[in-house]
Symmetry: C2
Subunit: 215 residues, 2 copies
């Protein structure tokens, strides 16, 4: 298999779209989540797909995602800052087109819920809207924004307030079977994939063979 | 499908392993990467698997990952801070056991390269070791560490210095075909999956149907 080595100088001189496709692909597979918010008056909902939701810790349960505040995602940012709450909803195989559609640049007064077949669901008294069609959902409380001076993006950190998971996906040891939930993963800017499990391994210990828990 | 709602209080009272399995599963699928480093004397290599490598921007090309500096990953942290460089290597289907093995708590004087069948490869004069068996590799220059006061973790930000990609995976528009590279994705702490593409979509525009670029 022949390989290509691309140095920084070549990367910076690449055509814009080529570079963003490549750099967005290079970290590997990414989480695919819809972030739901509502404005301060609890009138106008907003929904946007993100591929940067990342685990930051379990105690307290902290999640982060990256915002480029000058884009279509400004609605998400403003709503989170004003209300303090948002939802994170797994994209599953049956809603990939609608999820991708939420990345279109609709004006602020248009809700992506109205432009797609996704339904805003207010559950358990949580302030921000969940996506009814998502099977795994997280209600999150905003904790901190960290400006990234290197490129002007913002890391948003939040703490889990509640989880909504299908009983059949929650295994005895807390592991969630994302295959059963048909949660998808994203590569690059625009490709959606359905994973198939190769193996689940036991905790790794020095000088001991790696054992499978599940195929 | 019956669902379970788990509130924050219930989550915080869960048995430790149950909670970390659940919270590590809840963000969805994660990138699976091996981070390679070497000490200041260019003698002792280190290799560790991470599931938090995240795209932070394309211009400049910035990547982040999350470190819990009190764990087995301290070697990675110390080497990056001393030398300024590291490699990020995609885990592919043929090296999932070895990749998982690197999470075992070996003493600092033991290289994970010597405990697994993974090979340290010094390529293109880059200071830190690549994983020879990985097909997609990134040479990264350390840029900034951001302490996360909420839980004591550290976000490490770096800029891409070079990319090594198979010719057959690099499409005409810069998109990387991760399926062809057999790059895997992780869920939870310990489950490795091989994704199959459902669709690649065109750029989404308001009031226009979503079109496929690729099946």
């Amino acid at each position: 298999m022949s390989t290509r080595v691309i140095q920084r100088e070549e990367l910076s001189e690449m055509e814009h779209l080529f570079r963003i496709n490549l750099v967005n692909s290079i970290t590997g597979y990414k989480s695919a989540n819809l972030i739901g918010t509502i404005d301060e008056a609890s009138q106008q909902t907003n929904l946007a797909v993100f591929s940067s939701v990342t685990h930051f810790g379990s105690a307290p349960p902290l999640l982060g995602f990256v915002l480029r505040p000058t884009t279509v995602f400004r609605g998400t940012y403003n709503n989170i800052k004003k209300t303090g709450y948002y939802t994170i909803n797994h994209v599953n195989a049956s809603i990939i087109e609608a999820a991708h559609h939420t990345s279109a640049k609709y004006p602020a007064e248009v809700s992506e819920f109205d432009q797609t077949n996704l339904t805003a669901a207010f559950e358990n008294g949580f302030l921000a809207p969940y996506v009814k069609e998502a099977t795994i959902k997280i209600g999150v409380e905003f904790k901190q924004e960290i400006p990234i001076a290197l490129n002007g993006t913002i890391l948003i950190l939040g703490q889990i307030k509640e989880l909504i998971v299908p009983d059949e996906c929650l295994l005895n040891d807390g592991f969630l079977d994302l295959n059963a939930a048909e949660t998808v993963t994203v590569s690059g800017l625009d490709a959606y994939h359905l994973p198939k499990r190769l193996a689940r391994f036991e905790y790794a210990r020095p000088n001991q063979p790696i054992k499978k828990i599940l195929d």
